[in-house]
């Protein structure tokens, strides 16, 4: 098999692994923001989920308990955000930042209290994590030229949560654009007065929006600490929630473009270390820091209106006040 093909497969495989949490968080943000609630707290929910998953998996020895804990922790933060923004019509950015700070501090404090390990959780064994799933026929087909190795290396051999991430995209699309709930949710993000006047309560819709966001972030959190990684490390979300937010804007709040943005950011993340010290003709040694900045730089350029306009949902960030 040609060397380049294997390299390419490895890069794409790495892209899928690094993009998975981004996709889950970006879909979470998409559902929340389509309902009109800004979700700058993706990062916090992701981090809290990651910690809860690792802690529960360590204590019970079951990855499924870890997943349940992650979902619970993330949903709890989502409901705090919802309570502040929907019930009390608070400032959504401020509430989101509070969620992030809360998660940042709480994870370390609780980790220290539980494990006395410098804010980490003990390393998890293989049976305490979601391990790679070998899809049927992967080994049989491996020898088939090109497509076989593509299937075996790229499609097969990921853990459950990677598949969940890729599945979340068509699911979110279907939910938002093909169901009654989705029509109402999107209307609540564009013109909540119209929803109210149609006799549908806006708050309930928005609560469901942030709840779904909580669940998706919970999946992403579990992925970080008990699937991709083997334990919780302090600040392990490392800005992925913000990167997902950038992908959400880059993909203009539409599932498929958001997926591509996440894959692009994942790809940049994968190739950055590989470019370390590589001498490109004309450019010279590649500054790796520059590659990591690219996703953010691209989002800023997009927001400045260079590739057409990114139009957010019209009622995004605007509390719905019924009586005025």
């Amino acid at each position: 098999m040609p060397e380049v093909w294997i390299d390419m497969l490895a890069v794409l495989d790495g892209t899928a692994r690094l993009a998975a949490p981004l996709i889950l968080c970006a879909m979470a943000g998409l559902v929340s923001e389509r309902s009109g609630i800004v979700d700058i707290g993706l990062e916090g929910k992701l981090l809290a989920g990651a910690f809860a998953a690792a802690a529960a998996a360590t204590l019970t020895g079951s990855p499924w308990a870890g997943l349940a804990a992650s979902l619970a922790a993330s949903v709890m933060l989502a409901l705090v955000h919802g309570f502040a923004c929907i019930t009390h019509r608070g400032e959504q950015i401020v509430s989101g930042v509070a969620v992030n700070i809360l998660a940042l501090g709480m994870t370390v404090v609780v980790a220290n209290a539980l494990f006395r390990h410098g804010g980490h959780t003990p390393a998890l064994g293989a049976h305490e994590r979601f391990s790679a799933i070998s899809l049927p026929l992967a080994e049989t087909l491996r020898e088939v030229p090109a497509l076989g190795s593509l299937y075996a290396e790229l499609v097969s051999g990921h853990n459950l949560l990677v598949y969940a991430a890729f599945l979340s995209v068509p699911l979110v699309w279907w939910l938002l654009w093909r169901t009654r709930f989705g029509l109402r949710l999107r209307a609540a993000g564009e013109m909540p007065e119209a929803v109210d006047s149609a006799g549908v309560p806006v708050s309930a819709l928005r609560y469901r929006g942030v709840l779904i966001a909580g669940l998706l972030c919970g999946l992403a959190g579990a992925y970080l600490s008990i699937a991709h990684g083997a334990g919780f490390v302090r600040e392990m979300s490392a800005g992925k929630g913000f990167l997902a937010l950038a992908a959400l804007i880059f993909g203009r709040w539409k599932p498929l473009p958001v997926l591509f943005a996440c894959l692009l950011f994942g790809l940049l993340d994968t190739v950055a270390p590989r470019l370390q010290g590589v001498d490109l003709p004309l450019v010279g040694p590649v500054p790796v820091a520059l590659v990591s900045v690219l996703p953010y730089a691209m989002t800023v350029v997009l927001l400045a209106g260079f590739f057409g306009r990114a139009v957010p949902p019209r009622a995004l960030g605007r509390p719905f006040v019924k009586e005025h």
Partner: protein, 517 residues
């Protein structure tokens, strides 16, 4: 079908309110209101801005909960706590600010809340068919797959009416439906409303335009300061009596002085073409001349270039093509003038949207009164509360601004008094040119009188005034010449003497032709 099959209990009014009271903070919006709306009729509710009409409509539709009082629909006690309750009882509402999702299609807007199944695909064909038959039945044709954002306001209103009828409304409330319509579209709307009435429906028309009430309503209730002050059969009353009921005293037209001597031209614009940053052509080859001691009114349906023309002449947006001559200066793309320069040359501007562009709402009224006039704010670069107070007090007295306290934030004044603060600031000196955008929008009738008198007084003192208004009555009452705009073009300029609403309406829609004046 939406309109028949309702309970036909003869004698029961469609809607009966008793003792409805609603308070917003310190404001008593509805005070012990009783109301009977007869079945199968078009009933008007009139009152000045702030009289509580819209609040009352919102209570009937369940958007607001009343503090006290009871409601019956078709003779049955009907506690309406949410729009869903109202819809279930056959009440529909067409809001003043359309309740449509602009990024959705007409069909999606209609089906919102009535999707007919968890999957959108389940109900769509059925909804499409019912919509088509409703459209035909009421003469409300509209493309179900058009994006609402792309529809002109007249069509959006049709979608709103369809939306209400689709929900089975037998009692249709329309809140100020004609504010955004041309006279022609208004006539069409009234035809539609009569059709709904003839099919057995009940229509409640909320408006402040007396002419409309007289044209289409059988009965009318009059509100003033949150109270119901009268009920009349339109056949047995006249606009003068209704106006008196609305205001609580006799309303006179501002005395219109005989045509003053036409002064010299002060401002000239020629070949003004302007595109929005998005590239849309907003003004095409607009030419105009303002003369001292004369009011030139710009008539047109809003959104036909009037606002852009004001921005251009005031210096807020730059001239792109063509030029403006003012006070010895020629302003064109190569020689732009800032708003400050235009003001220094003797131009004053009362912006159309006073809350966003005319005032800084959280600032004190006296601070607002010196905006753009830094010399009145205090010595040099400093501001002085005493200087601002001294400047504001006589203005407050002259314009009778209430409450008479310049220290209150601008947000604490009513719409009419906010407008008086802006006018007081701009009228303080006699400007060579005054750009006057929608001077009486959202202002109560009593204040309209004062404002019109001040405008006419300023004209007498030699200002050249460009008046932009969507109220034809106002234009006919004040203007010397009327320039009609349509699609960014000047459709024609006619002398005000002898101009009729009908003729202007035709010019607004591009159907009529105007003679040069």
């Amino acid at each position: 079908m939406a309109l028949d099959g309702g309970p036909e209990q003869a004698g029961h009014p469609a809607v009966r309110l008793r003792g409805v009271t609603k308070r917003f903070g310190a404001v008593l919006a509805n005070d012990d209101v009783d109301l009977d709306i007869p079945q199968g009729a078009i009933h008007g509710i009139i009152g000045e801005n702030g009289a509580g009409k819209s609040t009352l409509a919102s209570i009937i539709y369940g958007l607001y909960a009343p503090d006290r009082g009871s409601m019956e629909i078709d003779g049955e006690a009907a506690p309406v706590r949410s729009p869903a309750d109202a819809i279930a009882r056959g009440v529909g509402m067409v809001h003043q600010h359309f309740m449509l999702v602009p990024t959705f299609t007409v069909l999606e807007n209609i089906m919102l809340g009535m999707e007919g199944g968890f999957l959108l695909g389940q109900g769509e064909a059925d909804i499409r068919a019912r919509l088509a038959s409703l459209s035909r039945q009421h003469g409300l044709e509209v493309d179900p797959d058009a994006l609402v954002d792309d529809l002109p306001v007249g069509l959006r209103q049709r979608v709103e009416i369809l939306r209400a009828l689709f929900r089975g409304a037998r009692i249709l409330i329309l809140d100020e439906p004609t504010g955004v319509l041309t006279p022609d579209e208004t006539d069409q709307l009234f035809t539609i409303l009569r059709g709904i009435r003839d099919a057995g429906g009940t229509v409640v028309l909320i408006t402040h335009k007396l002419r409309e009430v007289m044209a289409v309503c059988g009965t009318v209730s009059v509100m003033r300061h949150g109270r119901m002050v009268g009920r009349r059969e339109t056949a047995e009353t006249n606009t003068a009596e209704l106006a008196e009921l609305m205001v609580g005293r006799t309303v006179g037209q501002a005395e219109r002085p005989a045509q003053s001597v036409v002064g010299t031209p002060v401002l000239r614009g020629a070949g003004l073409t302007w595109r929005s940053p998005g590239g849309t052509l907003r003004l095409r080859e607009v030419g105009l001349e303002l003369r001292a001691g004369e009011i030139l009114a710009v008539a047109g349906v809003s959104g036909n270039g009037q606002s852009e023309l004001l921005d251009l002449l005031s210096g807020l947006s730059g001239v792109q093509e063509g030029h403006v001559e003012f006070a010895g200066r020629r302003i064109d793309a190569a020689h732009p003038a800032t708003p400050a320069e235009m003001r220094a040359l003797g131009l004053a501007h009362v912006p159309e949207d006073r809350q966003r562009r005319g005032l800084v709402l959280p600032f004190e009224a006296r601070e607002n009164a010196v905006l753009g006039r830094p010399e009145k704010a205090g010595p040099g670069p400093w501001t002085s509360a005493a200087a601002m107070q001294a400047h504001a007090e006589p203005l407050f007295a002259r314009f009778d601004i209430r409450p008479p306290d310049p220290k209150l934030p601008a947000a604490g004044f009513s719409g009419g008094n906010q407008q008086k603060i802006v006018l007081a600031r701009e009228f303080d000196t006699v400007p060579a040119v005054l750009l006057l955008g929608q001077p009486t929008r959202g202002v109560d009738i009593g204040t309209v009188e004062t404002i019109h008198a001040e405008v006419l007084a300023l004209k007498e003192r030699g200002s050249a005034i460009l008046l932009v208004s969507t109220e034809l009555d106002e234009i006919l009452a004040l203007a010397d010449r009327i320039m009609v705009m349509n699609g960014g073009r000047v459709a024609g300029t006619v002398p005000a003497a002898g101009a009729t609403a009908r003729q202007l309406g035709l010019m607004m829609t591009g159907a009529g032709d105007g003679a040069a004046a």
